[in-house]
């Protein structure tokens, strides 16, 4: 299908993954690799920015589920931010707001991490 890519930036202990394009079964491995990388570097405070994400499929949602347990065991979290309405509805339908903290913007998510400290 269409293109998907990610970019990672780091703010102190917090890593921000920016998603762009279409996240589905075919592109999910790209994001999986990002998580594997971050976990291997012991970076567990993660914000995923959905600002530029156009579409997410169930396989895309599965990526978050695959890593959340491990990340939370290490006192980290995946916080989601910047979703457009369509993407939010997909998350909402599945009850993801009950499982993850979802923020309007990347900055709010980062602020949340910093408050806890």
């Amino acid at each position: 299908m269409a293109e998907f890519n990610t970019s990672i930036k780091e703010k102190g202990d917090i890593s921000i993954i920016n998603l762009k394009g279409y996240l589905d079964a075919h592109t999910a491995p790209i994001l999986e690799n990002n998580f594997v990388d971050l976990i291997s570097k012991d970076r567990y405070q993660i914000v995923v920015d959905f600002k530029e994400l156009a579409y997410i499929s169930s396989a895309g949602l599965g990526v978050f589920m695959a890593f959340i347990e491990k990340i939370r065991e290490n006192k980290g979290d995946i916080k989601l931010a910047g979703m457009n309405e369509k993407v939010y509805n997909i998350f909402d339908l599945l009850g993801f707001p009950l499982l993850y903290e979802i923020f309007k913007s990347e900055d709010e998510a980062i602020k949340k991490y910093q408050e806890i400290k």
Binding site: A25, S58, A59, L93, L94, L98
Partner: protein, 710 residues
């Protein structure tokens, strides 16, 4: 058997030789001072015969060893050197030995005779050895059948030798010289036929040149030495004149042969490199055919490609870089570490200078600032594009170490080779893809078959409830599932679900879900309880990244009640009196969270159904169907379509919706399964016991709220 026979045969020759020598020795001892013609004749014949038998014996031996041309030449050199020293010191040695033993003249005479005989015997052996090595050299790499000339030469050698030995007092003396002349002519003729020089490498040719000069000199020295009045000559003449002449001729032939060999090699040296290259090209042609047979395994193929690249360009290292989705991967690096290959790749590829590479190019790492990071001193690089359909798919890179550089010829060779390699790799990748595609298609066939068998074959039929369902599978099997269960006599259970993932894995999860709900619906009659239990099972059995969205409901025909709970699935829609309501009770998808969390957040709704109520269940395959402009079919279109057709029968509504959705997305491939289930409540004699709930359009809701789509 044949081997044993051959061995016996060769042993026989050896014994014949030993026998002949013994007879010769006995003759000598018995007729010590005889000078008769017949004795001499017998002596000559036996000596020559024993020499010939020895030679044929040695031919058999040397055939088993199959020596190379150079080792044959070296052997001749060693023999000549040996002969040279023996001849040079023969006088001195014999004088030394026999000055010591002069006490008994008779005995000394006997010992002298014995020593002379042994000396001659050594030369008999040397002569035989020389003869067969020269013979081997003569027959080396001969294209035509030239045996006749060689045999002819030997015959004239014999004739010349024998005739010379008996010419003293015979009328045949005039024959000796013509035989000799013919023998020499044949020597020259045969020596000019050297044909094995061209086949050896340049390095060997140079050493051969030096060797042939040395051997030629030795042959000439030995000829001169054996011709003068030394003891050597006397001994051999005493042993057998014919053999002495034969040995002389043999040395002459050797001298002529090596004279020719020297000049032939000399003339071949300038073209040696060209020959080496040709030979390499021919052998790389063989490699190309090897490439064709290895297309089945891309790994093996790339290994072979780098191997051959090193051979055709005399490189020290070679590797392949594949470009895929903007990423480069190193394949089959030979004689170079990954790290080094990576550093060189960065230099070549990141600069963009190879983006439009049309043919092989030679680069130099001298100016590269990261050169010092290389663990080995690679300097000269040749990069060749691997293309398919005019697109660069990767590169074949070869490198040379330690100040050695690539030349134009290497580049040309690599260029030709990389074209072949491109084709082979392209074929290999295509084959791999088509095998993979076939495998996937097979897998999807299986998945579709599983899905088809899992979904209900027909819709249940009831007096008060008409049920219609439409399912359109996506090519990749999207994991949609719906089903109906008989909870109890008048209670119909139904489920609509969407399994995450696609293909065979989704199909297996569907099968599991069918089993779970089939059994749970027999044990419980609360949608919430059933879903909680299902989540408990699925949380344990599903992979972390897999989950299922589901909506489970039960229609109680006795109490006209629809109860349902939603685990992350699309809302249930209810059309009543031309108006549509969307019900989205809270709930998390199955398999996403633990039992407690799941249960806490799961709501169950209850609705009292009225006559003509239409309940619509669907999966996101409908609302996410896309048209040419990648627009979604969307909730609005879907809702309006349902409302405007709400008076129709259940199956008619379903057909209308599906035909609209398919025509909407006709130009775009269907990416997800589409499922639509419509339940229409037709209780004509509806005894409304429950009455209408004011303000809520007759809908009774527990634990929840009504959500409007618009």
């Amino acid at each position: 058997m044949s081997y044993i026979n051959l061995k016996d045969y060769s042993d026989l020759k050896l014994w014949m030789f030993v026998g002949a020598i013994a007879i010769l020795l006995i003759l000598r001892i018995l007729f010590h001072s005889a000078d008769s013609f017949y004795f001499l004749l017998a002596n000559e014949i036996i000596a020559i015969l024993s020499f010939l038998i020895l030679s044929t014996y040695l031919i058999g031996k040397i055939r088993q060893i199959k020596p190379s041309s150079i080792s044959l030449v070296v052997n001749i050199g060693i023999i000549n050197a040996f002969v040279f020293f023996v001849i040079a010191f023969s006088d001195y040695l014999f004088n030394l030995v026999f000055e010591e033993i002069t006490i008994n003249p008779n005995r000394s005479e006997f010992f002298k005779e014995l020593a002379h005989f042994s000396y001659a015997l050594i030369f008999l052996l040397i002569g035989g050895y020389l003869l067969i090595i020269l013979r081997e050299l003569y027959f080396l790499k001969q294209q035509r059948n030239v045996k006749i000339y060689y045999v002819l030469m030997l015959v004239f050698f014999l004739l010349a030798s024998v005739s010379k030995s008996i010419n003293k007092d015979s009328s045949l003396s005039y024959l000796s010289d013509p035989f000799f002349v013919v023998a020499v002519l044949l020597m020259i003729f045969n020596s000019a036929r050297i044909s094995w020089i061209a086949f050896i490498e340049k390095k060997e040719k140079i050493s051969l040149l030096i060797l042939s000069v040395i051997i030629l000199t030795l042959f000439i020295l030995n000829l001169v030495n054996s011709n003068d009045q030394r003891l050597h000559n006397t001994i051999l003449m005493g042993f057998s004149q014919s053999f002495n002449h034969f040995f002389y001729l043999l040395q002459l032939y050797g001298a002529v042969y090596f004279g020719f060999l020297f000049f032939t090699t000399l003339f071949h040296i300038p073209t040696a490199e060209a020959y080496d290259r040709k030979a390499k090209e021919v052998s790389s042609l063989q490699y190309f055919s090897k490439l064709i047979t290895q297309v089945l395994d891309i790994k093996e193929l790339s290994d072979t490609i780098t191997d051959i690249a090193i051979k055709v360009s005399s490189a020290d290292a070679a590797w392949i870089v594949l470009k895929e989705n903007g990423e480069t991967t190193i394949l089959a690096n030979k004689n170079i570490a990954f790290v080094d290959a990576d550093i060189i790749n960065r230099y070549l590829l990141d600069s963009g200078m190879c983006n439009d590479l049309k043919e092989s190019m030679i680069c130099n790492l001298d100016k590269y600032k990261l050169k010092y990071q290389l663990s080995e001193k690679f300097g000269s690089i040749t990069i060749s594009p691997l293309r398919s359909y005019n697109q660069i798919k990767g590169y074949l890179i070869a490198a040379r170490k330690n100040e050695l550089i690539f030349y134009e010829e290497d580049k040309t060779a690599l260029n030709t080779f990389s074209d072949y390699a491109s084709v082979a790799m392209e074929n290999s990748l295509l084959l791999e893809q088509s095998i993979e595609k076939e495998r996937l298609e097979k897998e999807l066939d299986v998945a579709r078959e599983i899905q088809r068998k899992i979904l209900p074959a027909s819709n249940p039929v009831f007096e008060n409830l008409s049920v219609s369902s439409v399912f359109i599978p996506a090519f990749e099997v999207g994991g949609d599932y719906y089903d109906f269960f008989e909870v109890s006599e008048n209670k119909l259970g139904f489920i609509i679900a969407d399994v995450s993932g696609k293909g065979i894995s989704a199909a297996f999860i569907m099968a599991e879900i069918k089993g779970i709900f089939e059994s749970l619906s027999k044990l419980m009659d609360s949608p919430k309880e059933i879903l909680v239990k299902a989540n408990q099972i699925l949380k344990r059995t599903l992979d972390k990244q897999n989950f299922v969205s589901a909506l489970f409901g039960i229609i109680d025909q006795d109490t006209d009640t629809l109860s349902f709970a939603r685990a992350g699935h699309c809302p249930a829609l209810l059309i009543r009196d031309g108006k549509i309501k969307s019900f989205k009770p809270s709930g998390i998808g199955l398999g996403l969270t633990n039992s407690y969390h799941f249960k806490e957040n799961l709501e169950e709704y209850k609705i009292i159904l009225k006559n003509n109520d239409t309940v619509v269940l669907y999966t996101d395959g409908i609302t996410e169907s896309k048209n040419n402009n990648l627009e979604d079919f969307g909730d609005d279109r879907f809702v309006q379509l349902l409302v405007s057709n709400s008076d129709e029968r259940a199956d008619a509504i379903a057909q209308k919706v599906i035909s609209k959705v398919t025509s909407f997305s006709s130009n775009h491939s269907q990416y997800d399964d589409i499922t639509l289930v419509i339940l229409k409540w037709n209780k004509k004699n509806n005894i409304v016991n429950h009455g209408e709930v004011p303000g809520n359009d007759g809908m009774e809701i527990k634990n929840g709220r009504i959500q409007h789509l618009n």
